[in-house]
């Protein structure tokens, strides 16, 4: 259940990237991958630290707090993809300069 909530949260946050300039590595799809991976990994990490075990929260263990674990992960995931995209753009621009 926790995994489902994290995926939904990751997908929800990704929807707002439409307002950002498309500099993500892999474009809007790259942003989605970053958001989903980030939300799941971060969710697992925080929940894992909390229960001292690497496992996915079940129906009973999933609450609003657990769902929100995905938020920083999704943002970080997308930020990483954005930075990679920007770096690639800069590298491409430098190649074109001469």
């Amino acid at each position: 259940m926790g995994l489902l909530a994290w995926v939904i949260m990751g997908l929800a946050i990704w929807h707002y990237t439409i307002w950002l300039p498309d500099r993500f590595w892999g474009g809007i799809v790259g942003a989605l991958v970053g958001s989903l991976i980030g939300s799941i990994v971060f969710g697992l990490l925080i929940f894992g630290i909390k229960v001292s075990a690497l496992r996915i929260p079940g129906q009973k263990a999933t609450n609003v707090g657990v769902v929100l674990y995905a938020v920083p992960g999704a943002l970080i995931g997308m930020a990483v993809i954005y930075l990679v995209g920007m770096r690639n753009e800069r590298a491409a621009a430098q190649l074109e300069l001469p």
Partner: protein, 1017 residues
């Protein structure tokens, strides 16, 4: 063959099939599922035994034995079939004594005969033939008094060393690498889970340690221990305790066990013709018993063993030992419980018992239990152990009510769809209604002919395919109207409309069919019925919606009914949709994000309300005869039956005659459900009538829920993979990713809505979710199909303009198809019974979300992704440079939409060419391009380049005027007029195929066609 003759032939075939279907409908009976006619549905999970693994062969053998048992019970039209890798579904309609049926059908019925005294294990852990405290001799051998409590018996048995069968090959291994020693999950002896503090056995015997813990809720704080009993030792339960005077069974399952050396002399397969009889011989008491004969091997062994027992008795009769004390015994064990332990009278049978006249098992039988045993022995022992994981009992009245509701919902759905078609498409609508009626007749004929067992989900599938069938017509009719509006004649418009609409319909239907196939292959029995009808319906609808209606319309195309302008409603529609879909997608994305955010939080706050299909438990629904009964009264009646924690909920439902009660409790065994039924019936007895009516119960074990969830996850993943592969093949792989994102969006939004509304998630919901996978693609494919078509026709437009244009062309069609499918689904939601309502709710959310996501999610994602391609980036840059912005639509000088001509002839392109790959604008020839440049008064960047040959697969359009959506002249006259050398990107104005390396061919001298190369003949 002329079109007219072809149409006539098709109509003839259609009429012939209608006649055949009518004949089948009139002569064959409809096979109704249990939920529509009442009965019991049982689902068993097979577990391996030391004798047999669970594989297709053992399941088939088990099914054959179960069928024999059901036949012996006289159940009409039972359905027994395997489901998945290890499950067996048993449907028993019209069963009066269902408790007996379900007890009998899944019983392992393994019968063993033991020489008693030499095999009973004493306190030392070794056989103790003379230890009366171990064997129960002479008073009551095998009785409850002499046995040990189960926990003590387990500890005694655990002391024993392994005794392996003579041949190591007799051991059955579950996996490669199993040896005569315990390895992993190899079957080697048996396992018990005990709680030493309370000297309790929590579970056992199980074949593997893993099985001990599966689906078991261990009480909090309980310290458990798994105890292994080596092969060669078994625990058998003492025989039932009876009242000596009356013979009535006092305790059928006493907590008293014997430890035996597992060395049976005979098995169930060694006996023949078991029959229920009465003990009426010399000294007989007239009690029911089971008589049987022996096979030749059984006869020899029985005579030898009884002779040995008699001799042993003679030897035991020493001075001071009474006759009774010297008697030795023979034990009969059925499914690990002693049935009887008769003595062999050495005085009466000094040389053993002659087996030629057979033998009998007697003691403690009622007529029914004796009959049951005889039947079980007759049908044979099941090769595998069966665990009842789900049971559903539906009363016949409830079934009839559900069928009535389903028919009403179906008819309502059909009528609404007909009205919609008639209102929007007039004559075309009338033809579509004809197509729908033909579809309904064919489908019902097929249901009866195959025959398909009609279940509630199956009817839902049937009703849904009515919408799908109408969708196919809408897609074609919209296309026909478009072609006629574009200037074609009615006849040509119809032909062209069917031709162009067909690809989209095939794509959409193939995806639906594939989803149905995956559902059928992977899902549980309840969902299978739905998947089968959906699959068959999709195929039949393709025939009726495309072939039959085309023939009808073609035949009528020269009549006034069709040629009249009002008939087809083809009057030109103003400017059509001029909405900047791609521009507005930002807002729609945000809206979707917010909905998903709310859904995720709702899942966190409320969670999903999983039904007993997933959580396990028993749900009873019943009406109470006595009026004005409160929930607490029902709860107290259930508590009195021993289930104090049961939850009682009152509900109003016509299916249970007004007000009914739903009782939810932990999973109850079939016998305990019967106890609850009887307790309620007694408690609420009213004017001499039974207290309850329309009793139905469903019991689901945890294993069943897990298998449903697992199969759903596998089906979703498999569907996504197959759908992606298909889209990638039919379109382009970049089109598959937005489709997957849109599907994910639909599924997750549906999950969020379920969390928000608190609706119960059942197996029907899972089926609906999987259907959404197939159906929400329908719209996306329609949109993408038009994008695919417009890409080569708008070689200078930005991708957002192509998408806006495509969307504006197909939006009406897309909305109409979604609305048309929603109509029957909404009728299911309004008029269907509880199961159908649940199913329809998920579909309504999914279909609505699917229509929305194909326009506002899939298409913008495709746009963002495609516009990263260099060719589209260049186009966008050029347009922005020329106009200062990228307009939403590619417009002409007057600001009107550029007319995109219907595509003419498209030659098949060869893929894989390195020098001239397919790409945007590939279908514009060099000549056309030059013509276009001349029209626009732009300098061609290719002027100085050698003339490129026509691109493979290029078409010759009607001319540049309508063949492409060109940039407006304003654009052409200003920056485009600058010479290329003035710092302008020369590639910006190129069509995408010009951006790739062209193969320059030397002009070749044309040879006469008949000129042959090589050696002259």
């Amino acid at each position: 063959m002329t079109d007219r003759r072809r149409n006539f032939l098709i109509l003839l075939v259609v009429a012939g099939l209608i006649a055949a279907s009518a004949a089948v409908i009139a002569t064959k009976k409809t096979r109704l599922g249990l939920e529509l006619k009442g009965g019991v549905q049982l689902t068993y999970q097979a577990r391996p035994t030391a004798q047999s693994k669970v594989d297709s062969e053992s399941l088939e053998r088990a099914i054959s034995i179960m069928r024999k048992r059901v036949d012996q019970l006289g159940v009409a039209q039972p359905e027994i079939q395997s489901s998945g890798e290890d499950q067996i579904d048993v449907a028993l309609p019209d069963v009066t004594n269902y408790t007996r049926a379900q007890e009998e059908v899944g019983k392992t019925a393994q019968l063993f005969f033991y020489d008693w005294e030499p095999n009973v294990i004493g306190a030392s852990g070794e056989p103790a033939p003379k230890e009366g405290t171990a064997t129960g001799d002479p008073g009551d051998p095998g009785g409850a008094a002499a046995g040990l409590p189960e926990y003590q018996a387990v500890l005694r048995a655990a002391k024993r060393k392994p005794i392996l069968p003579p041949k190591a090959s007799d051991l059955v291994s579950l996996q490669p690498g199993c040896t005569a020693a315990q390895v992993g999950n190899c079957i080697y002896g048996s396992w018990y889970l005990v709680e030493p503090a309370h000297e309790k056995v929590l579970r056992g015997p199980e074949e593997t340690k893993h099985n001990l813990y599966s689906d078991l809720k261990i009480p909090k704080g309980a310290k458990t221990e798994a105890v292994h009993i080596n092969p060669g030792t078994v625990l058998v339960q003492a025989h039932a305790t009876e009242d000596e005077a009356t013979g009535k069974v006092l305790d059928a399952s006493p907590n008293s066990y014997y430890v035996l050396n597992d060395n049976p002399v005979l098995e169930g397969k060694d006996i023949t013709s078991p029959t229920q009889s009465f003990n009426e011989g010399a000294g007989g008491n007239g009690a029911p018993n089971v008589t049987f004969g022996f096979t030749s091997h059984g006869k020899k062994v029985f005579e030898r063993v009884t002779k040995e027992i008699a001799h042993r008795g003679q030897e035991a009769q020493l001075p001071g030992v009474t006759h009774a004390e010297a008697l030795q015994h023979f034990a009969v064990v059925l499914d690990d419980q002693l049935i009887t332990v008769p003595s062999i009278d050495f005085q009466q049978y000094p040389e053993g018992i002659d087996a030629s006249t057979g033998s009998e098992i007697s003691g403690g039988f009622t007529i029914t239990s004796a009959q049951n045993l005889a039947n079980e022995l007759q049908s044979g022992a099941l090769p595998v152990k069966l665990l009842l994981i789900s049971k559903s009992q539906v009363s016949a009245t409830l079934g009839k009510q559900a069928l009535k509701q389903a028919i009403e919902a179906g008819l309502a759905g059909f009528l609404i769809v007909c009205l919609f078609l008639l209102f929007f498409y007039r004559v075309l609508g009338l033809i579509a209604i004809g197509g729908l009626t033909i579809y309904a007749v064919y489908f019902y004929g097929l249901v009866k002919l195959i025959p398909i067992t009609l279940t509630l989900p199956g009817i839902a599938g049937y009703i849904l395919t009515i919408g799908v069938c109408a969708d196919a017509n809408i897609v074609i009719f919209e296309r026909v109207k478009e072609e006629i509006r574009g200037g074609r004649s009615v006849i040509s418009g119809i032909a062209s409309g069917y031709k162009h609409g067909f690809a989209a319909i095939v794509d959409a239907n193939v995806v639906t069919f594939m989803t149905a196939f995956i559902l059928f292959a992977l899902a549980t029995a309840e969902v299978k019925g739905f998947a089968f009808t959906l699959g068959i319906g999709t195929l039949v609808s393709l025939f009726t919606a495309v072939l039959a209606t085309q023939a009808a319309l073609g035949t009528m195309s020269q009549t006034r009914a069709v040629t009249h302008p009002a008939a087809l409603a083809t009057k030109r529609r103003g400017k059509g949709w001029r909405f900047d879909f791609m521009g507005a997608s930002k807002w729609f994305f945000s809206m979707s994000g917010t909905i998903l955010l709310i859904g995720a939080l709702a899942i966190g706050a409320e969670g999903l309300n999983f039904g007993i299909d997933f959580t396990s438990g028993t749900r009873v629904q019943t009406a109470i005869t006595r009026p004005h009964v409160s929930e607490s009264e029902v709860a107290s009646a259930v508590a009195a039956a021993g289930y104090a924690s049961a939850q009682v909920q009152k509900f109003n439902n016509a299916s249970v005659g007004g007000s009914g009660y739903q009782i939810s409790t932990k999973t109850l065994e079939p016998k305990k459900v019967k106890d609850v039924e009887e307790a309620l019936s007694r408690k609420f007895e009213y004017n001499g009538k039974p207290g309850i009516k329309d009793f139905s119960a469903t019991s689901i074990g945890p294993t069943f829920g897990r298998s449903v969830a697992n199969s759903a996850v596998i089906a979703i993943i498999a569907s996504l993979l197959v759908i992606s592969a298909y889209i990638a093949l039919r379109f382009e792989w970049k089109y598959a990713v937005p489709v997957l994102i849109a599907l994910m969006h639909d599924l997750l939004i549906t999950s969020g809505v379920y969390a928000l509304t608190g609706r119960e998630v059942t197996t029907a919901t899972v089926a609906a979710l999987l259907t959404i996978l197939g159906y929400s693609l329908y719209d996306t494919i329609i949109v993408f199909d038009r994008v695919r078509e417009n890409v080569p026709r708008m070689p200078r437009a930005a991708f957002s303009q192509i998408l806006n244009r495509s969307m504006s062309e197909v939006l009406t069609r897309s909305l109409a198809t979604s609305f048309c499918t929603l109509l029957p689904v909404v009728s299911l939601l309004l008029f269907g019974g509880e199961t159908l309502k649940n199913f329809a709710f998920a579909l309504v959310v999914g279909i609505a979300s699917g229509a929305y996501s194909s326009i506002f999610i899939a298409s913008p994602v495709l746009m963002h992704w495609k516009e990263r391609e260099p060719s589209y980036r260049a186009r966008r840059a050029r347009i922005a440079r020329e106009l200062g912005e990228v307009p939403a639509f590619a417009t002409d000088a007057t600001g009107a939409l550029e007319d995109v001509e219907p595509e003419q002839k498209r030659r098949r392109t060869r893929r894989g060419s390195l020098i001239a790959p397919e790409g945007p604008g590939q279908q514009l020839t060099h000549d056309e391009f030059q013509e276009l440049v001349a029209d626009l008064d732009v300098d061609s960047p290719l002027d100085s380049a050698p003339a490129a040959p026509p691109v493979r697969g290029a078409r010759r359009g009607r001319g540049a005027q309508g063949g492409v959506a060109a940039a407006p002249p304003r654009a052409a006259s200003a920056p485009a007029a600058e010479p290329p050398a003035a710092g302008r990107d020369p590639a910006a104005d190129l069509t995408p195929e010009d951006l790739v390396l062209k193969e320059t061919r030397k002009p070749r001298q044309k040879r006469p066609r008949n000129k042959r190369h090589g050696r002259s003949r």
